[in-house]
Amino acid sequence: MGDFLQYTLAGLSAGSLYALVALGLVLVYRSTRVLNFAHADVSTFGTFVAFALLTANKPLWLALPVALLAGAGVAVVFYFGVLFHAQRRGATPFALVILTLGLALIFQGLTIYFWGAEPTSFPFPLSDSKVWKVGPVYVNELSIGILAVAALASLLLYLLTQKTRLGLAMRATSENLAAAQTLGIPTRAVLAFSWGMASALGVLAGTFLAPVLLLDPFFMLDPFFKALAAAILGGLNSLPGAVVGGLVLGVAESLAGGYLAIEYKGSLAFVLIVVVLLVRPEGLLGKEFQERV
């Protein structure tokens, strides 16, 4: 029983980070119908900005917001500079995916240019070697921090989309772009905001993933794939789905790693993707897709 709780806790902590990354993916997919393959690389870039500030002995309360803004800025510029024009010219969904791949490659190169490709450790105020025993399980400082931040970010995002005028505009825009424009919603600004918000969530996840993993230009790739699986599991167009999917995936992975074989822990996500897509393509909480000829 102690083992089970321990694995579940570890899974929840990993899963909440998957959920943060998945929220960014879903936010972008819902608003602009683009699967953002640049999410990992832009988040990595933002995390490296935080890394640069932290190694220059700047405090975390300064480094984190600057990094979030850097990530958000990149996404907003990409939206206005590239994506908007491509969508106005009627680019196919495939072309849009490839555009984000181009962005991903550019930021991968830039990250290597500025910070090199060698793995480094991330200086972070919270550490995972500081451990307390609570009942039958051990909890460490870092996973508590991760859970708290993820819960806070999800709550704020919920309040933003459900309780504010901006959130209403975001929902309206993702529901029906043309109708939203007709009603006088500045859809371009709203969509750019969604992109920026998504990217900031990715950077947030990145700064909390970096102390767990080692920091190198490719460290977000694996969590990104997991987050894709989580987003698919929850439904690509459902924000609560992303959170549920992330947590379920994290716990399932942790339990599979603990009780089955550790080597195939990473493959679970992809098995899950295939099963979900074959059985229920719209995901757990997503709406069913309907298509017109």
Binding site: Y29, L35, V82, H85, A86, A91, P93, F94, A95, V97, I98, L99, L101, G102, L103, A104, L105, I106, F107, Q108, G109, L110, I112, Y113, A117, L221, F225, L228, A229, I232, L236, E263, Y264, G266, S267, A269, F270, V271, I273, V274, L277, L278, P281, V293
Partner: protein, 326 residues
Amino acid sequence: MDLVETYRQDLRFVRKPLQRVLLFLLILALATLPFWGPSAWLNRASLVWLTAIGVMGQNLLIGYAGLISFGQAGFLAIGAYSFGHLRILGVPFPLALALSGAATGAAGWLVGFPSLRLKGPYLAIATLGFGTAVYQIFANTDALSGGRQGLAIPLLEPPFGLARDRYTYWIFLGLCLLFAGATFNLVSSYLGRAFVAIRDSDIAAEAMGVNLTRYKLLAFAISSFYTGVHGALMAQYLGHLEPQAFNIQETLNFFVGVIVGGLASVEGSIFGAAFAILVPVAFGDFRWLVPVLFGASILAVLLFEPMGLAGIWLKTRLYFRMWPFR
């Protein structure tokens, strides 16, 4: 000046006798490259030819049939490893090549099944899952990947005392030309038209009598056959296999080749393969610059020249054909 009566004529590569002569001269120049080019070019050119086969396969899938696959690295690994194991068992080169292509084609046929239900981003994710799963299976199974030492593949034994790098070059060039010719015939046949119809609107294609199940699965199978042959040739070229060579980065190179070369174009696939191989060679000293250049050229191509290098080539040809009018 030229009257086009059938689809096949419309897609015809060579239209005039002069073009036939030029094409012949080009092939002659390429075939004699070992005699006049620097020896460093020989290896790079071999790599371009074998990559071109894979890019053609990917182009059949993306450019013609309009299906996305992010699992190319997985197909590549299946082709390379089945070729490697067959060669180690002593199977001769041509048979091993055909078998590894067929094995990969079968894998592609299986992966094609989700494509019957899924579209766009969902298909991308499903195939991505496949690619990563294959990578992890190879990375975690020592019996398949040869463990820590990797898998060493017997080199080709050239007949008649030819130099090995020349012999390899000629084989790769010959195969590339063979596959290019086959692709031309494929896309101008009923099969190619069915692929294009599915790409433009699969529901409309079905209404016109195209069997979606059969042609989507065929698109995956044929494209993976190409990729498997590419993987096999890559295994032969490298002489040594490690699972790390088949990660997501390899899939991205395919995309760069297809997009920059030009969607739905055979000669574009060859241009794209040359781009994806030669840019890293030219900028080998600046590791960071290669992804930036790849990414920037993807963006530039999609925004300004959606047909890629093949489009530029087409426009140049058209300009000279129409000259002095425009």
